[in-house]
């Protein structure tokens, strides 16, 4: 398996650091293994049968004991995002992390972080998901506090550790409750058992299901940075090295939303029986989790939007805007689930649109936010400060970085025709499908208002970076080293390329969502 390739390379990095005196071997190893993983993932995508999935059992145990890897198109889609952003971050770290010691541990931890995320994407049963989830989380705690000679990293890292551990443990409690109900942790086995008993649910089982769903939502929402569990994020993102901030904000918090989506749509949904022949069979939620997800998502967007303009620190600004975008993704998935629960037979197309918008927004935000954090890394590397007042107008002194971050800001602001517009449009389109449903209408109106407000402050930031009067730190700055700027430029061109490839990307997102919802 590809992710085992990633994980297995990691100890070699540590050994080779001492043995060989060849200077850049670690970076070459990391980049090589990430490229290999990416190639293998693309090959794996071609092997998945149409509308189906691959599965593999570790050590040949089989159900219900075996560790199952369940790979469908949604998993591959997320894994390609994780490995792609990871590869660009590794290239960026080539020059950015030069001043730090202990780089073997850094690259080893980066590889285990990516391996953990790919493992979460491929997990076929709940406990397997939890194991890889913890692998990812522990690597990220260590990476956030990597620069341990600064007080900020250590304090933020500790706060992140405590909050995220509580979240993971609460999610594990929910997982153990589900295990107790069904005596298996395999997600599809649980779904199959729910199909058999769906019309005979008694009170205690319903209570367990609701309780477990609530615990799992709260648990994974901590890492997915949904309000009110988001408070670790604005401290952890500025304190981490910029490449790790890009990883955290670009992909790690997406893993939270992915785990939430996978568990909710697979375990807590069922395929209705007695459907006529020829009708597309899709899954319907048993627990009304769409309601909760919409409320959480909209609360996240509103709270984070209010907090953004108070920030004077560039990376803290970007961290709050990450929280806003996670709210969009959660709202999109919530709208899809709400529609599937309340209007089961007539809202399938609309729910698909909303969920595809959310999934496409995962890609858009990963690309855009990684771009912004890496370019802020370039800026901080040159100007040695993160203060927005001092950094005004630095886009004119660092032209490549400035133009790339402007493209990224426009992309995230949802300015047409750049790609960020389309994903937000799809989410809002799904929400506005039913005018007689007052709940959806009000919350979609709040989402629209927040999108306009967010576009406002992204443009404000772009104006300050590019067109402001030169701040005190910006006067002495010059362009960052080329291997640091290269990933930034690659991501910016990816934003523009995504604009042209929108129909293709939309169909990929739709196919992924079909794998998530339709397959059950």
């Amino acid at each position: 398996m590809t992710l085992l390739v990633s994980a297995a390379i990691m100890p070699l990095v540590k050994i080779l650091e001492d043995q060989l005196r060849f200077r850049r071997l670690k970076e070459i190893l990391v980049t090589g293994s990430l490229t290999l993983s990416l190639a293998l993932l693309v090959m794996l995508y071609r092997q998945i049968p149409k509308g189906g999935y691959l599965e593999a059992f570790l050590s040949g145990f089989g159900l219900p004991f075996g560790v199952q890897f369940y790979i469908d198109r949604f998993s591959i889609y997320m894994s390609i995002i994780f490995c792609g952003i990871g590869l660009l971050v590794a290239i960026f770290s080539y020059r950015y992390m030069e001043v730090d010691t202990g780089l073997d541990k850094y690259y080893g931890l980066l590889l285990t972080l990516i391996a953990g995320m790919v493992g979460v994407a491929f997990a076929g049963d709940l406990f397997n998901l939890y194991v890889f989830w913890e692998l990812m989380c522990i690597s990220s705690y260590s990476l956030v506090s990597f620069r341990k000679y600064r007080w900020e990293a250590v304090e933020a890292g500790f706060k992140y550790l405590v909050m995220s551990t509580i979240g993971s443990l609460i999610a594990l409690y929910g997982i153990s409750l589900i295990y107790g109900c069904f005596k298996t942790v395999n997600m599809h086995e649980i779904a199959a058992k729910l199909v058999l008993i769906q019309y005979k649910l008694d009170f205690s089982l319903t209570l367990y299901l609701y309780l477990a769903a609530g615990l799992i939502i709260c648990g994974f929402a901590v890492t997915a940075a949904l309000a009110p569990f988001h408070t670790w994020l604005p401290d952890a993102h500025p304190a981490a090295p910029a490449s790790i901030s890009a990883m955290l904000s670009g992909v790690v918090i997406k893993t939270g939303i992915y785990a939430l989506a996978r568990i909710l749509f697979t375990v807590f949904s069922t395929i209705p029986s007695g459907v006529a022949i020829g009708v597309t069979v899709h899954s319907i939620p048993i627990v009304d989790y769409g309601f909760v997800m919409i409320i959480l998502g909209v609360l996240t967007i509103t709270i984070a939007n209010i907090m953004v303009l108070k920030q004077r620190d560039l990376k803290r600004f970007l961290a709050f805007s990450s929280i806003v975008n996670m709210g969009y993704i959660a709202s999109g998935l919530g709208i899809a689930a709400y529609l599937l629960y309340h209007y089961p037979s007539q809202s399938y197309g609309l729910a698909l649109i909303a969920a595809s918008g959310a999934v496409l927004h995962i890609l858009n935000h990963a690309v855009g936010k990684a771009l912004l954090f890496l370019s802020s890394g370039c800026i901080v590397h040159e100007a040695k400060t993160r203060d927005l007042v001092k950094l005004e107008g630095i886009g004119r002194k660092m032209p490549l970085t400035g133009i790339s971050s402007s493209i990224g800001l426009l992309h995230l602001a949802g300015v047409p025709p750049l790609a960020g517009f389309w994903s937000k449009l799809m989410i809002i389109w799904g929400g506005l499908g039913y005018f007689q449903d007052l709940f959806l209408l009000i919350f979609t109106a709040i989402i629209i208002a927040n999108s306009i407000y967010a576009a406002g402050y992204y443009l404000w930031l772009m104006q300050r970076i590019m067109f402001g009067k030169l701040g005190s730190a910006a006067e002495k700055a010059h362009e960052a080293p080329s291997s640091m700027v290269a990933p930034v430029v690659i991501l910016a061109s990816l934003c523009i390329v995504l604009t042209f490839l929108i129909p293709w990307i939309m169909s990929i997102a739709k196919v992924s969502v079909l794998a998530l919802i339709g397959g059950g």
């Binding site: 341990k148 304090e155 500790f158 706060k159 550790l161 405590v162 594990l172 409690y173 153990s176 295990y179």
Partner: protein, 106 residues
Amino acid sequence: MDGVAQVQTVYMATVVLLIAVGLYCIISKRELLRIILGIEIMASAINLNFLVMGLGRSGIDALAQSMAVMSMAIGACLAAVALALIVNVFRHYGTTDVRKLRRLRW
């Protein structure tokens, strides 16, 4: 309720109580080490929950036992990282009083 369900109910109440104790330790203790102990109490409670859920007429289900052992291993890694962070916090702040870790604000 038969015997197994009665035992399960008692133990599940214990698990809830232990989680509450763990959360209380994390929220209201003043020293970093006691916060980590609170995390470990919560982890132990959830391991107990796994075992309790696997209770059957002929002992505990093997899957539950293997999950509990795996979860214990992960808890140990977590404790290691957390303790390393506490050492570093002490080097910076000179104290393990969590009320002194207030430099990061709005």
